[in-house]
Amino acid sequence: MLTISNLQASIGSKEILKGINLEVKAGEVHAIMGPNGSGKSTLASVLAGREDYDVTDGSVLFEGKDLLDLAPEERAAEGIFLAFQYPVEIPGVSTTNFLKTAMNEIRKYRGLEPLDAVQFLKLMKEKMKLVNIDQSLLSRSLNEGFSGGEKKRNEIFQMAMLEPKLAILDETDSGLDIDALRIVAEGVNQLRSPERSTIVVTHYQRLLDYIVPDYVHVLYKGRIVKSGPKELAFELEEKGYDWIKAEVETV
């Protein structure tokens, strides 16, 4: 589904990603872990199409298409979704307000008829229940005055609505209490299917108790320095990152 080869990206003169290789097959869940400042959010942003970063080398294929050639909105329409680490506040724009436009634009791209107001509301009701989010929150200005947990739940709500093929969750678990964490995991697990894949960027192993990954990768200084089965996450939890850093430095 997703093939990242030797991806290099920088901002200004600062190199951040220094040759990422990653293969995500349909149905798989990949966890990406690593110390702060390793480039995890940068990778997520580059995949979603943020224009601040210059891709200096490498390629990204998504279902055979050159992803780097597509505008952010085209990537979304192709089925990529990024749950932001720091979702932006947008005064005057509510979730309901832009999500209907977003869904119908994506449907248009795929040659589908737009949803009418009734269909849209029905779908919303269903997904609201799933992530336990309140209608009133969705009618307010996006993220303005939302608590950390509300912001993250809103991201997962949007993901549930848009049903992406590839969901990228950037530290969606940070700052969540255990109940919220369970709700977020529930939302992700509901979407799991042989056709859909997920990349979970996280700091903590605890999310992976709920969203069990097929693979765990460690990103450090712009490279994937270690990959392994889900047990790698336990090891990282136990021993921290220092041993990995040491391993990298000796190479």
Partner: protein, 439 residues
Amino acid sequence: MNNQPNNDLKSKLLADFRTSEERMNGASKSALHQIRREALNQFDRLGFPTVKHEEWKYTNVNSLIKEVFEFNASSDITVDDLAQLESSRLEGNVLYFVNGQYQPQLSKIVSPASQLTITTLAEAVKTTPDLLTQYFAKYADYQDNAFTALNTAFAQDGVVINVPANVAVEAPTILRFISDARQLNVASQPRNLFIVGEKAEIKIAESFRTLGDQASFTNVVTEIVVAEDAQVEYYKIQNESDMAYHIGTTQVHQKDRSHFYSATVTLDGGFIRNNLNIALDGSECEAHMYGLYFPNGRQHIDNHTLVDHRKPNSHSNELYKGILEDRSTGVFNGKIFVRQDAQKTNAYQSCKNVVLSNDATMNTKPQLEIFADDVKCSHGTTTGKLNEEALFYLRSRGIPKEEAQSLLMYAFAEDVIQKIKIDALREQIERRIQAKLAR
């Protein structure tokens, strides 16, 4: 040859005045005419302002005064022509003026005479001269403002509204001023006077439109007198052509505990200067001023506001917002004056702008002059680009760039749009804004 174009329009106007005076015979001795003559002398003395004048630094009227206009030109406008303007039918008292002339066949007054009297200025001169003697030109300053002087000297028509005490007028009143510039360059100088009695309430909108591609010039003055405990909602909506020049002054005089709400929305227009001057000549008054402007192309939109706090315990609140595209220019100048007597004044001013193009310019100037010591005053202006983070967020959800941009621009404007409390008018404005932002 006269190589000072400045003098062409001026000398033509001065000559016009003399000619009309000769035709008047006896009427020229009336009190009203004395005011007009005095205003003309002031205009003669002042001349058109140049950019050397502090108040006109960013708004150069040179190209305006080089044009040749036909003042108060007749128009054979029909109801079918109006359809081109695609204005929705608004319920209420609707009065049409075309090139400054009242169009009774297009107008309707639905409010009963017990609620208010609406007359044209031309009619009021004949039927209620005492009312005019009491209020006309008593508020809008023609000593220092050349355009107000010009309007005062020449205004032939407009609307006089008188709301008696204790009446809350239900129907909104909409004044539609249309420049019919299909054949030639036209000019008009409407003059309005709204007198709102104690504890009375009214909603009034002034709308300005253009038909045709020739140049037009509207020089409008509106005086609003708000008595004790009265409440006025006032909307000025401009949707004129790129060839339209508009200079306008709205002068408001508030007495104790009165409330005044205004929104000035400029959708389109070539060259616009709006002055909104509010004298808070009473205590415990409230004045709320909102503004919205969307210049593109080479449009120029200038909003000057002045709030004069003269008495204690009043509150003024101002929010102007603009979105500038292409090579357009915008000006915001907000003056707050707090006199020594105006203790416990609470004055708030804010002007926020989004500049979408490197060739567009916004000039903002807050001016606070405070002579009382116990006041709360705050002001702030911001001018920036559209929020890139927000744009990326919306695009990452599947919304194409242009659409995401117009969504954000609309959201930016939304809080001001919501201040328009005449529903049909607001909905019409919402549609026009959406259409303009989607371009």
